[in-house]
């Protein structure tokens, strides 16, 4: 029924160590990326871009970032939204204050700045372990919420507390003014989608390579037992700080994308603790320590309330069910799913995916 791994022999180490060793997987990946770039860009509606595709990718990147800390390295972090906030404000201030700044460079630098902040708040992890560590990341979360409110310089002295990002900020490459890909294009939902998609693909590739490299194996060794890791010669302190840096780098880029590609304005209120928990749910639902799972979790947790709203509109007519009911309902369902998943399938959707793949492989012969 399904393609299988058995019998696919390789002739060299290089081929054996490929990111996707199966030819079918590689073709699927190429086809998927091509589909996202050419077909989706051509046919998706504005609503599809701005309300579904972009937020899912942005939140997926944030989830991936948190997954690096929690899923791969075992360092509990509840400050995701705070780190996203650092990224968003860094990107805004870089683009606002430096003339030649472009969006890709600003995203990269804001990731680096958020990563630096992440290292600072990750330092206590060298001494404090387990639950005690959440103090540090919660401090980061509340510090972010406070600092961007207390110092109006970060918001360019906007009195309302919300900055609408102007079109001339959307400078993706130098000299784009006279090409069809000018600021107006990147400002449109299609342009934002393309930026988000490219950044997401690059970050996923980087993460995929990181976790199968020395760095990633060190992370997992530290997660499984840090004393044992130390005994076999893994530099635990460096590994932990590296994980915090990469994790918050992803969160920072996600924060910058959240403002520039998704909502189009800058507002520290949205990066509150609830958003941190939302990302945490995405990690749990999707699967700890899984890249695919990060995105599956983001899709599920983000899309569930939309599905309920749309479904009820479809069945009962628009506005028949009030929003409070939907909100409470989606909370109950998401909470239940988290508990059920933890009991039945601690690996989350990613594990469900791999077990269903296995079922497809043996179907219809074995059960």
């Amino acid at each position: 029924m399904f393609y299988r791994e058995a019998g696919k022999l390789v002739g060299s180490f290089g081929k054996d160590r490929r990111m996707l060793p199966l030819l079918e997987d590689r073709w699927l990946a190429v086809l998927f990326v091509a589909f996202m770039y050419f077909v989706v860009t051509a046919i998706a509606s504005d609503y599809m871009f701005t309300a579904i595709l972009i937020p899912i990718m942005v939140l997926g990147v944030a989830t991936l970032g948190l997954n690096i800390a929690v899923g791969y390295t075992g360092q509990l972090s509840l400050g995701t939204a705070g780190f996203m906030c650092f990224g968003a404000f860094s990107a805004f201030n870089l683009i606002l204050r430096i003339d030649w700044m472009t969006i890709p460079l600003a995203f990269f630098l804001s990731g680096m700045i958020a990563g630096g902040v992440g290292i600072i708040f990750g330092l206590p992890s060298l001494r404090i372990k387990g639950f005690y560590l959440i103090v540090s990341t919660l401090a980061a979360q509340f510090f972010a919420e406070w600092v961007f409110n207390a110092y109006p310089w970060f918001l360019n002295y906007t009195s309302s507390g919300v900055v609408s990002l102007p079109m001339h900020h959307y400078r993706v490459f130098p000299g784009q003014e006279n090409t069809p890909f000018n600021a107006a294009f990147w400002y449109s939902s299609q342009g934002r989608y393309l930026v988000t998609l490219t950044v997401t693909i690059l970050l996923v590739l980087a993460c995929k390579n990181l976790v199968r490299s020395n760095t990633g194996r060190n992370w997992m060794a530290v997660r499984d037992m840090d004393i044992a890791a130390k005994v076999i010669g893994i530099p635990v302190a460096k590994t932990k700080l590296m994980a915090f840096f990469i994790s918050t780098f992803y969160c920072g880029v996600a924060g910058a994308m959240y403002c520039y590609c998704y909502i189009g304005n800058l507002d520290f209120m949205i990066f509150n603790l609830r958003r941190s928990f939302l990302v945490m749910f995405m990690v749990i639902v999707g699967g700890l320590g899984s890249i695919l799972g990060s995105f599956l979790g983001a899709i599920f947790v983000y899309a569930w309330p939309i599905l309920i709203t749309r479904g009820s509109d479809f069945i009962f007519g628009g506005g028949a069910i009030d929003t409070a009911f939907i909100e409470n309902n989606s909370k109950i369902v998401v909470g239940t799913i988290i508990i059920v998943l933890l009991i039945r399938e601690p690996g989350g959707f990613a594990a469900l995916w791999s077990s269903s793949k296995q079922k497809l492989r043996v179907w219809p012969f074995a059960q």
Partner: protein
């Protein structure tokens, strides 16, 4: 420096710290007995207070409402133990924590779905008047003002702690609880029914949630913001050590005092109000840097 003012801020902080301790004790009880870091504490607080308020608003007598809510919280605790905690026994600490985060979400939806998400007031009949402690400290010669309500809350918290310590020390159940907290496997081996002990702990936590929820509700009104009590309780137990009830008290006092003093003296210096939230966590962080498992926490011995 104005010492009277300093002292007043300090006393106010210590008393509000007691309110944090109230939340923290619930945490400690569950962590001590089952090793679960119960993030749903804040929402259980909200659920208890909301149920009580909604009942009294429907003209139910104060004590009847109290009894009904008490029963609901106990039953809820037992249900949680049955459906969530028991299937997850012996799982990693992280997944147990995640489960309570899921539970938190579930209860949030439930509490607001069954009742409503409006802001309610609750009046326990404790006056909120200030007390002037003039000439009470003849040696120092200081006049300070404290809130009567805070004193009453501190008194209730003290009674609760006294009750809990008596319960832990002198009853058979309390002894089993201590045994379970020491070592699950050893406790099971000598015939202590683990699941029953956990059910008792969750039920007792439900009771603590009700009391803390009412006190907090009287102070800040019963609404969704009540769930943030969990965030006040967190640094408290982390300072005190996750397994120690005296630690929860001491931690509460430290956090309360540090928060209020920080708000007065530090916020001015770094140019911005409202530092309470992250200041509490920074204080906790500083303490943990010195003692990584809190002041009264048990030091874990790790072997490879």
């Amino acid at each position: 420096m104005d010492y009277a003012f300093f002292l007043e801020v300090l006393v106010g902080g210590l008393l509000s710290g007691i309110m944090y301790s109230l939340v923290a004790i619930g945490f400690v009880l569950i962590y001590k007995s089952s090793g679960v870091f119960n993030f749903a504490q804040g929402t259980m607080l909200l659920l208890a207070a909301l149920t009580f308020v909604s009942l009294t608003e429907r003209m139910v007598n104060f004590w009847v409402a109290f009894a009904i809510t008490l029963m609901i919280m106990v039953v809820l605790g037992i249900i949680i133990e049955r459906t969530v905690m028991r299937p997850l026994a012996n799982q990693s600490l992280l997944s147990l924590f995640m489960a309570t985060v899921g539970l938190n979400y579930f209860l949030e939806g439930l509490a607001q779905g069954v009742w409503d998400s409006a802001v309610h007031g609750v009046n326990l009949g404790i006056s909120n008047d200030p007390i002037f402690l003039i000439d009470k400290f003849p040696v120092l010669g200081l006049d300070i003002i404290v809130s009567y309500f805070d004193m009453a809350a501190a008194g209730i918290a003290g009674l609760m702690i006294l009750g809990l310590s008596l319960f832990f020390t002198f009853t058979r159940t309390g002894l089993s609880l201590r045994a379970v907290s020491d070592d699950h496997l050893a406790a099971m081996a000598v015939g202590i029914p683990l699941s029953r002990i956990w059910a008792i702990v969750w039920a007792v936590t439900g009771v603590i949630c009700l009391i803390a929820g009412l006190l907090w509700g009287d102070r800040v009104s019963v609404s969704f913001t009540l769930t943030s009590a969990v965030l006040k309780g967190l640094p408290v137990i982390l300072i005190g050590g996750l397994t120690s009830i005296p630690g929860a008290i001491v931690g509460g006092l430290i956090i309360g005092a540090s928060e209020k003093l920080g708000e007065i003296y530090v916020a001015e210096w770094i140019g911005g109000q409202g530092i309470e939230h992250w200041w509490a966590y920074t204080t906790a962080l500083l303490f943990l840097m010195v003692r990584p498992t809190g002041i009264f926490g048990e030091k874990e011995i790790e072997r490879v």
